[in-house]
Amino acid sequence: MKSARFPQPMKPGATARRAVAVAIVMGLMIWSGAASNAEIPLAERRSGYEEMRPETRAMQDDDTSNPGMLWVLDGEALWQRKAGAAGRACADCHGDATQSMRGVAARHPAFDAKRGAPVDLAGRINICRTEQQNAPPLTLEGRDMLALSAFVTLQSRGMPIESNDERLKPFIEAGRRQFTEQQGQLNLSCAQCHDDNWGQKLAGNTIPQGHPTGYPLYRLEWQSLGSLQRRLRNCLTGIRAEAPPLGAAEHIALETFLMWRARGMKMESPAVRP
């Protein structure tokens, strides 16, 4: 439940004075050692889409004007391209992606029994690349990986996020610990912004609850499509914390927790965000 100490969500266009006030309040809260980890009730969860201005939402709503769809087009072509010593395309094993990939992204990161740990979609794609196609893995956050991820994730659009695998529990807990621990030079936790102060202003934008429903997405700041991991690393930069390398187990654990936190919410990738 949203703490009664904090004011109601601001109307758009709040002044810089308000942002400073929030910073002061948060500073006092941190100084006093009170870290309120109030989880958002399931019914109150909202996508970052709701916090955006209408013009940005309009960019996401239309497939012919959503820049993220350019990567989906590339991914669609890559799906058919033969690769590796095995000379196999994704399509050769998986056929029509609109059928075979339906719901897949909505339940990733997924537990991989062989590895005894969750694997995210990029990890799963690279497992196929190396083990099934005998091809070198795709560079994480590279153009091809993003294109394929975008194309596969599109097949889950509108479907609810699923997170009910018991085997993921320890990883969800590890992710939750990351989410609630204060870190970085600014000594902030994810929860302090995204559980306790969502809906308020930070540096001119409204703080979203931070759900992964739209990833991979086109971030206006990047002028490019990017993964959830890229965005999480931006958050770490924001609080002046050091980020582990791309693909690190810590990132996967946090993603696993975020998908659990967003369970039941609808996928909307490729989203557009500021």
Binding site: R53, E221, C235
Partner: protein, 165 residues
């Protein structure tokens, strides 16, 4: 230049001429190579860019509607639509639409050529705005007149970016 004698060499430059020459020299001295120019253009640079397009003609506010959100979440991608009132007949139509930005490093955003085949004189695109500033749209009609609209846009910046600022 009224106090010059017909033969300039004998009378020497007037005081007014000297001021003018000094001004020109100052201007010449201030045209630095592109690489060294300061990061943001000025309102003068935008006026200069507009002058290049309209020449000596007057630009009258009206007939043009520039639609840009007044408050923008990220200056990298700002939706921008320009529509003009015009019957779009062969004898009375919009020839061109220009958009200028006051505080971008470079004042031009786009220059579009239309004609009666356009049907509806409207263009939409997405522009970059480096800072809070005024954006001006100018339409050139087939009769040679220029019309304009302008909007003040406030740019905000998201939190938690990739690069340390």
């Amino acid at each position: 230049m009224s106090n010059k004698s017909p033969d300039n060499k004998i009378a020497g430059p007037s005081r007014r001429d000297m001021i003018r020459l000094a001004g020109l020299a100052g201007l010449a001295g201030s045209v630095t190579p592109l690489a060294m120019r300061p990061a943001y253009a000025t309102a003068e640079a935008m006026q200069e860019a507009i002058r290049k397009v309209v020449g000596e003609a007057t630009v009258t506010p009206g007939k043009v509607k520039l639609e840009i959100p007044p408050l923008v979440e990220n200056g990298n991608t700002v939706p921008c639509e320009v529509t003009v009132e015009s019957p779009m007949t062969p004898t009375d139509h919009v020839q061109a639409i220009y958009v200028f930005c006051e505080k971008n490093p470079q004042p031009n955003a786009f220059a579009a050529r239309l004609g009666p085949r356009a049907g509806r004189p409207a263009i939409a695109t997405r522009i970059r705005l480096a800072d809070t500033q005024t954006v001006i749209a100018i339409a050139e009609l087939s009769d040679g007149t220029f019309w304009s609209d302008s909007t003040d846009v406030i740019i905000t910046l998201g939190a938690c970016l990739e690069d340390l600022i």
